[in-house]
């Protein structure tokens, strides 16, 4: 019998769009490492470089992620709740709106009319089509958010008193978080950037714009990370032949991520004027709070791995590690992701530190940090999800498991080779977002060796990308094999959980209050005082 859920089409469409744009972005990434190294004089061109970095950042940060998360959400929702996507036309409309937005933004990006980087900080101004396209992409993703919430509510109605499956509890937490998160950049786009770039507003307040952007800038990384965590909790333990250590801890972690990740964005403004130190200090507390759910996750995930290892006959303190199924892509990706997350986590604590941030702010360290956690931890688990879901969606065998395993290790190594030198160069003072290093400073000599290493990293990642695409593409025409999506059971199954861990109404009130407390005055001050706006500047 066939298990074709009605999410297969939209799931695959989202995944392929995500992978397609990611491939373009990887190619740009390789060009960027070559250009910025300064080893190839014929490549030098700031015009091309900044058009490229802007496109690479937008494609990786906004496009790959949004489409991947939507595909993941649809497919896991239908397979865990065992119900179809309601209002499929609605879901497809969101998808096409997001595509239209991406293409609208791509035109100015590729023609050098939006070389303002993915952070789009004013008063550098892009062509209005860039802001409008990006906004359409975000609005498209809201359709997905509504679908996720809608499905959770429907399921609860049909199963009164029962615990919503952890997978979909996570999807919904992410959807709700994303709606709260996008209020910041959404307001910046609608009330500032779009009217200003169209000439309807003469000036905009850069301090206000940066404050609104900070509202989005931290929680967006949790939007990206959520599916990766969901996979670690609900898919990985099953695939490796074990059990989830704790269903309730998963729920607690998801709720904490939802509540704590939006109201703490000021760690992106540590080095900015226009906000008082006290506010930054308060946000620092919140920022450290959001480390907790990640630390809890680390425990549950490693404990779940240990259970699997021991069930497979692993003995001794570390013997269970070698007993794990290291030929299984989901296992390899999860192991690699945990390692990358550990390295990245150390860096993150430095960045989040009220007083240490000054040493690394806006240096190449930061680029290293987010490639490690985002390009590394997060994306490697996206790959794992694709390897796991494609065969199930298509009803076909994965083209090559061993190729998948090699691909994942290559990605892991490539990311380390790319990002470790960046961390070092950052500590050696290299600013981020430079296309060359014309400084007449002996420091620059010390950067060279690291510039060479990062090119090697880029090439490894490119090879890895090709292997990924080939494997998934060939899976479409592989031999038939019917596999079900199965989710991990907890050691102590939780058919019923406390109300607070089975719904979000209460938590939405908490977030609302927390947001007003942390962002209310810092935003209001721009309206209560006389400030001076900035007119648009070309690059």
């Amino acid at each position: 019998m066939s298990n074709k859920e009605n999410s297969v089409g939209i799931g695959l469409a989202n995944f392929w769009v995500a992978l397609g744009f990611m491939t373009v972005a990887v190619l740009l990434g390789v060009y960027q490492v070559a250009e910025r190294s300064g080893f190839f004089p014929s490549l030098e061109s700031p015009t091309l470089y900044f058009a490229s970095v802007s496109t690479h950042g937008v494609l990786m940060g906004f496009v790959l992620t949004t489409f991947f998360i939507m595909g993941f959400g649809y497919y896991t929702a239908t397979t865990s709740l065992k119900m179809p996507i309601p209002g499929k036309g609605f879901a497809w409309f969101g998808f096409w709106l997001a595509i239209a937005g991406t293409l609208t933004a791509a035109v100015p990006l590729l023609t050098g009319n939006a070389s303002v980087l993915y952070t789009m900080y004013p008063p550098l101004a892009a062509h209005p089509a860039f802001y409008i396209g990006a906004t359409m992409l975000v609005v498209g993703s809201w359709f997905w958010c509504i679908e996720m919430i809608w499905m959770m509510l429907r399921w609860k109605k049909a199963h009164p008193g029962e615990a919503v499956p952890l997978v979909h509890f996570g999807n919904t937490a992410n959807a709700i978080m994303w709606l709260w998160t996008t209020i910041g950049v959404g307001s910046e786009a609608l009330f500032q950037l779009i009217p200003w770039s169209l000439g309807l507003l003469e000036t905009i307040d850069v301090g206000l714009a940066r404050t609104l952007f900070s509202w989005t800038l931290h929680a967006i990384v949790y939007f990206w990370l959520f599916p990766a965590y969901i996979l670690l909790y609900t898919i990985m333990p099953k695939v490796i032949g074990g059990k989830l250590f704790s269903d309730e801890m998963g729920r607690i972690a998801f709720v904490m991520l939802l509540v704590f990740s939006v109201p703490i964005g000021f760690h992106h403004l540590y080095m900015d004027p226009f906000q008082e130190a006290g506010w930054k200090f308060l946000h620092m507390f919140g920022t450290f709070m959001v480390a907790l759910p990640t630390l809890f996750t680390g425990f549950t995930v490693i404990a779940s791995m240990e259970i699997a290892g021991r069930l497979r006959g692993g003995k001794g303190l570390f013997g269970w590690i070698s007993a794990l199924p290291w030929k299984e892509p989901v296992m390899v990706a999860s192991g690699a992701a945990m390692l990358l997350l550990t390295f990245g986590g150390f860096g993150g604590i430095i960045n989040a530190s009220y007083s240490l941030n000054v040493m690394v702010h806006n240096t190449q360290w930061v680029t290293g940090h987010f490639h490690l956690i985002f390009g590394g931890t997060t994306v490697i688990l996206y790959f794992a999800a694709a390897y796991h879901m494609f065969p199930r969606m298509l009803g076909r065998k994965l083209h090559s498991r061993s190729m998948a395993v090699v691909q994942l290790w290559l990605w892991f190594i490539g990311m380390l080779v790319l990002t470790l030198p960046w961390h070092v160069m950052g500590l050696l003072g290299q600013p981020r977002r430079i296309s060359s290093a014309p400084y007449d400073d002996p420091l620059v000599q010390q950067w060279n060796i690291h510039e060479a290493a990062m090119i090697v990293g880029g090439v490894i990642l490119f090879i890895s990308t090709v292997m990924l695409l080939w494997n998934l593409y060939k899976t479409h025409s592989g031999p038939a094999q019917e596999l079900q999506m199965e989710y991990a059971e907890a050691i102590h199954p939780a058919p019923r959980v406390p109300q607070l861990l089975n719904g979000f109404a209460f938590w939405n009130v908490v977030i609302g209050i927390y947001l007003i407390a942390s962002y209310g005055y810092p935003i209001a001050q721009f309206f209560l005082n006389t400030t001076y706006g900035a007119t648009p500047w070309g690059v």
């Binding site: 226009f274 906000q275 130190a277 930054k280 009220y354 420091l443 939780a494 001050q525 001076y532």
Partner: protein
């Protein structure tokens, strides 16, 4: 509701770790008065030349006469002005920076002199340079196609009279 005993212990460990980290940061912030550059001080970036403080002739380092100094700078595409400044070592300095055009980031590697330079707002950094020598003042926020070329120099010299 079931939370495993080992997991409860881990929760406590993580909470204690977090409290320690935040505690150390708080101790430095409160005890040694270490804060990132902050403060809400609007200024009209299009009229810097008409202000007393940021007019071209008034930029640079001034000795306050009480063992402290003030350094005033402007960031504009593509340089920080004055493009060469000399400041004394081991002297508390109040640095004031404004942008004449777009967003910039000012950073002097291996010192605590780092701040965003935001059009419409004055940035203020309070620091003491602890080593003499030549330093680069680099722009670390993308400000346009010439961003890489935006840099100037800072020389930290021995205190006069010592």
């Amino acid at each position: 509701m079931h939370i495993d005993e080992t997991e409860k212990k881990w929760v406590w460990i993580t909470v204690i770790m977090t409290v320690i980290m935040v505690g150390v940061l708080t101790a430095y912030a409160v005890g040694s008065n270490i804060h990132p550059p902050s403060g809400f001080e609007p200024i009209d970036s299009t009229r810097l030349h008409l202000t007393e403080e940021f007019a071209e002739d008034n930029l640079g380092y001034k000795d306050n006469g009480d063992g402290t100094g003030t350094l005033t700078m402007v960031g504009a595409r593509y340089g920080f002005y004055p493009s060469r400044v000399e400041v004394p070592v081991d002297t508390p300095i109040r640095i004031r920076v404004a942008s004449a055009d777009v967003l910039h980031g000012l950073h002097v590697p291996f010192t605590n002199y780092t701040t965003m330079v935001v059009p419409g707002y004055v940035s203020e950094v309070n620091t003491t340079f602890q080593k003499t020598g030549d330093f680069s003042v680099m722009c670390n926020e993308y400000c346009g196609l010439g961003h890489d070329h935006m840099w100037s120099r800072l020389k930290v010299v021995p205190k006069s009279g010592s």
